[in-house]
């Protein structure tokens, strides 16, 4: 199918869906993004075949822009004030929740998952663990009365954000075990060759951003510069067989902490965030594979491990996080996975394309949807607890 028909249909449906879901009565369900994933599946090779393998290849630049944009936004949010707010109890809580999830999933991927299919490599284990560790902080805001999080919801949000950032780090580790040209000594190659290249390129990109923004720029010029730089960063990452999501996140992190342009760039990034996120969901939906027995079992196993990890993590956190006090069921607040998990899935699909990755990504997507909907149904007891706002 010609690329233009596909792109046209995607844009058409994304716009239509955007206005129906964000502006219509379905607004309350917009966080799950289920509608857009379904639209993507409809366009995919199993049904309408508008987004077949060839067409997806032609849409690589769009893919780079979408994940790059999300990465940059995350990177920019990790600034010094945010880091300063991470008190010791928060860090211990985040470590408990994320650490438990990562450990459970890493072990599970290498021991239980291979029973459901072949080729479960350490790379895949890192990817699965990284997606499982993600928790949506936006969901907690949306669940709060009048969008004003209570102190406990705020604490949960910070723990969730820290956990999501840790998941990005874990995702980065997946590149340690893979490369376009497999090497027996991947670790030394990473430290001696790839890491200096990544850091050097990041520094060059931050320098370019600085040079661009050191002059007074209009809003139109800023949109042009940020778009161009995100696409450039994604392109550089892809040619180095690295993740556009991580490359942009790293650039965003250094940009936010070493220059004074964080707020200007972040304001630009937020403007286009929503439509690009919807495009991501559609593109992801197109690569969902048909439901099979092993896939259902993978979904079940993923959900079981994740609920177990998050609920246990929440319970442990509630035992010593006293300011503010968190309920025993705090883990419910971490059940929703949000957009970062999807972005990691999308990136992994492109960087490590094989049958097992597609199966796992489909399983994670469906599990994410179930987690989001389940979280939404059960968090009432967690968030609606009467609590005095500061």
């Amino acid at each position: 199918m010609p690329v233009f028909i596909t792109l046209f249909t995607i844009l058409c449906l994304a716009l239509l869906g955007y206005h129906l879901v964000y502006r219509g009565h379905g607004r309350r369900f917009h966080l799950s993004g289920a509608a857009f994933l379904l639209v993507g599946y409809l366009l995919g090779p199993d049904l309408l075949s508008l987004l077949d393998e060839t067409t997806t290849t032609h849409l690589y630049p769009l893919s780079g822009l979408v994940t790059g944009w999300i990465g940059l936004m995350y990177g920019l949010q990790i600034d010094l004030p945010f880091i300063k707010r991470l008190t010791a109890p928060l860090l211990v809580s985040a470590s408990l929740d994320t650490g438990l999830t990562l450990l459970l999933f890493f072990m599970g991927t290498l021991t239980l998952f291979p029973a459901l299919g072949p080729h479960y490599t350490p790379t895949l284990a890192f990817i699965i663990s990284a997606t499982a560790a993600c928790s949506s902080q936006a969901a907690l805001v949306m669940a709060s009365p009048h969008l004003k999080p209570t102190p406990s919801a705020m604490a949960l949000m910070r723990i969730a954000t820290t956990g999501s950032l840790a998941s990005l780090f874990i995702f980065a580790l997946s590149f340690l075990f893979s490369g376009p040209t497999p090497s027996p000594d991947q670790l030394s190659m990473l430290t001696q060759s790839e890491l200096p290249i990544i850091l050097g390129t990041t520094m060059a990109l931050v320098l370019l951003y600085t040079l661009f923004l050191s002059q007074r720029r209009s809003r139109e010029e800023l949109i042009l510069i940020v778009t161009g730089m995100v696409v450039l960063t994604s392109g550089l990452a892809a040619t180095h067989h690295f993740s556009p999501l991580l490359a942009n996140a790293t650039t965003g992190f250094f940009l936010g902490n070493t220059t004074r342009y964080r707020d200007r760039i972040l304001s630009m990034v937020i403007i286009l965030d929503k439509p690009l996120y919807l495009l991501l969901l559609i593109l992801l939906g197109a690569r969902v594979i048909p439901i099979t027995g092993p896939l259902l079992l993978t979904i079940a196993l993923y959900l079981f491990l994740r609920i177990l990890a998050k609920m246990t993590g929440g319970l442990l956190i509630s035992l010593f996080h006293t300011a503010p006090t968190l309920p025993r069921s705090a883990g419910i607040g971490f059940l929703e996975q949000g957009g970062l998990a999807m972005a990691i899935c999308f990136d992994a699909q492109h960087t490590f394309p094989d049958a097992t990755t597609h199966t796992v990504v489909t399983a994670i997507l469906i599990a994410t949807l179930i987690s989001d909907l389940a979280g939404r149904l059960s968090w009432g007891g967690l968030i609606a607890t009467p609590e005095k706002r500061p």
Binding site: P61, L208, Q215, G228, L232, G235, T351
Partner: protein, 451 residues
């Protein structure tokens, strides 16, 4: 002040060097899989956007319009110079170019305010009449007079030469609304001179199709086709023109409907409209050609101009539309003109630059005489009579499209015509924007749009 300008200049130069170095370095890497190929296209697109923007900033310090900077960046990066953008990549990013053109056409249509134009109706009409008479006459005369001096004159039959001269003469009146709009946007120009120039430019792009339709009917028998076939071809072009304008009007009301019901995200919607128009016209044209012998394709440029004009003049959302278009216009203009620069056929220019130069000069002479005469007949200020021609030099888009039509009738003549047209466009796109910007500044209308 000079020191500050120098600092800005150095900083812009350094940024440009940085972007180029980073992109050049990335090109040296070995490619193992599709994801890395996709990364390469990403880098090309980003480099086109950023380098075009920076080159324009550098050249603007010398008073050269930004659009020329974008074109120069494209030429340098293009397949005829450094080959950073090769023919293969150019083909892949053509989609973006076409979408951008539709977007710019929408902008041009939205800028045509009927109230402002009505005060200049007489000037515009007389200008159009004189230009469609004198410009083709000058170009036709120049080709017929100088053909014996060039090698191609010996290679073509007298009939082919006559056809080439007639069609080149008609194509010479085609303009580039996109370039005109880009200059007006960059200069933030507003005033009677600007409105007249834009009005004539847009109207001329419609008129050129009508005149070409007539010319095709005349030259078809000369090329071995029957007179009936000639008129059939003319009728097809007529349907294309009427259909495009009607579709544009409908689209305009569609945009009004959207604006009335949705209060946000208009810029994204407008990009979508540009994309939809570009692709639906191509798709329907291809489908029609596949199942019938009729080559009928609606012109996206005209559809978008008509849509913009309808929203501006027949609905209450004209100002809002123009503001929305203005907000996201910069990346579109940079990409479009940088890709256009990369697409400029330097090989064609090298092959026939002497004849192209003759055509450019004769076209300019026709424009000088017609605008001067029109200005005097309508009692315009002397300064405006003297400078008006400078706003009409740019040429692109429709001119290339028209040469493709003749290719179906006579490929040999079309080959000469295409090469010649591309060479003339290359020269006019170099000179036109500079001339138009200088005219706007000289008329005191640059910087007058304070919206």
């Amino acid at each position: 002040m000079i020191k500050r300008q120098r600092t800005t200049l150095i900083r812009t130069g350094l940024t440009l060097i940085g972007v180029v170095a980073l992109c050049a370095w990335s090109q040296q890497l070995p490619v193992h899989n599709g994801w890395q190929v996709g990364g390469g296209i990403n880098i090309t697109l980003a480099a086109t956007l950023l380098c075009g923007f920076l080159m324009a900033e550098l050249l603007s310090h010398m008073g050269i319009p930004k659009i020329t900077g974008y074109i120069v960046a494209g030429v340098i990066a293009g397949p005829h110079a450094t080959q950073f953008i090769d023919f293969h990549t150019l083909e892949k990013i053509q989609l973006i170019n076409e979408v951008a053109l539709s977007f710019i056409a929408l902008h041009a249509g939205a800028a045509l305010d009927r109230d402002l134009l009505s005060s200049r109706t007489r000037t515009i009409v007389i200008n159009l009449l004189l230009q469609i008479t004198l410009v083709p006459l000058f170009v036709f005369g120049a080709i017929m007079a100088t053909a014996p001096l060039f090698a191609f004159g010996d290679l073509m039959s007298q009939t082919q030469l006559l056809v080439l001269a007639i069609l080149s003469a008609i194509i010479a009146i085609a303009r580039s609304p996109s370039s005109a709009m880009a200059i007006i946007t960059e200069c933030r120009a507003r005033g009677p001179f600007t409105d007249t120039a834009l009005g004539i430019t847009v109207a001329m792009d419609v008129l050129v199709i009508i005149l070409f339709t007539g010319a095709m009917a005349v030259v078809s028998p000369l090329l071995g086709g029957s007179e009936t076939k000639g008129w059939f071809q003319a009728a097809i072009l007529g349907v294309e023109l009427a259909g495009s304008l009607a579709a544009g009007a409908l689209l305009g009301y569609g945009i009004q409907f959207f604006y009335r019901h949705v209060s946000k995200d208009h810029a994204l919607f407008l990009l979508f409209i540009a994309f939809a128009v570009t692709r639906i016209t191509k798709l329907t044209g291809d489908q029609l050609s596949a199942f019938t012998d009729v080559h009928l394709t609606l012109e996206p440029l005209l559809i978008c101009i008509a849509a913009g004009f309808v929203v501006r003049n027949a609905t209450p959302y004209g100002e809002e539309l123009e503001e929305n278009l203005m907000r996201i216009s910069l990346p579109i203009y940079v990409l479009f003109f940088s890709v256009a620069g990369a697409s400029l056929d330097l090989a064609a220019l090298a092959a026939c630059w002497p004849l192209a130069l003759v055509l450019v000069l004769s076209r300019a002479a026709g424009l000088i005489l017609s605008t001067w005469a029109a200005g005097h007949l309508t009692h315009l200020p002397v300064k405006e009579c003297r400078l008006a021609w400078m706003s009409h030099l740019t040429q692109a888009g429709v001119a290339i499209g028209l040469t493709q039509i003749i290719a179906r009738e006579d490929p040999a003549t079309a080959a000469y015509l295409t090469t010649l047209t591309l060479a003339v466009i290359t020269l006019n796109q170099g000179l036109g924007p500079v001339a138009f910007k200088r005219a706007l500044i000289a008329m005191g209308e640059a910087g007058q749009d304070r919206r």
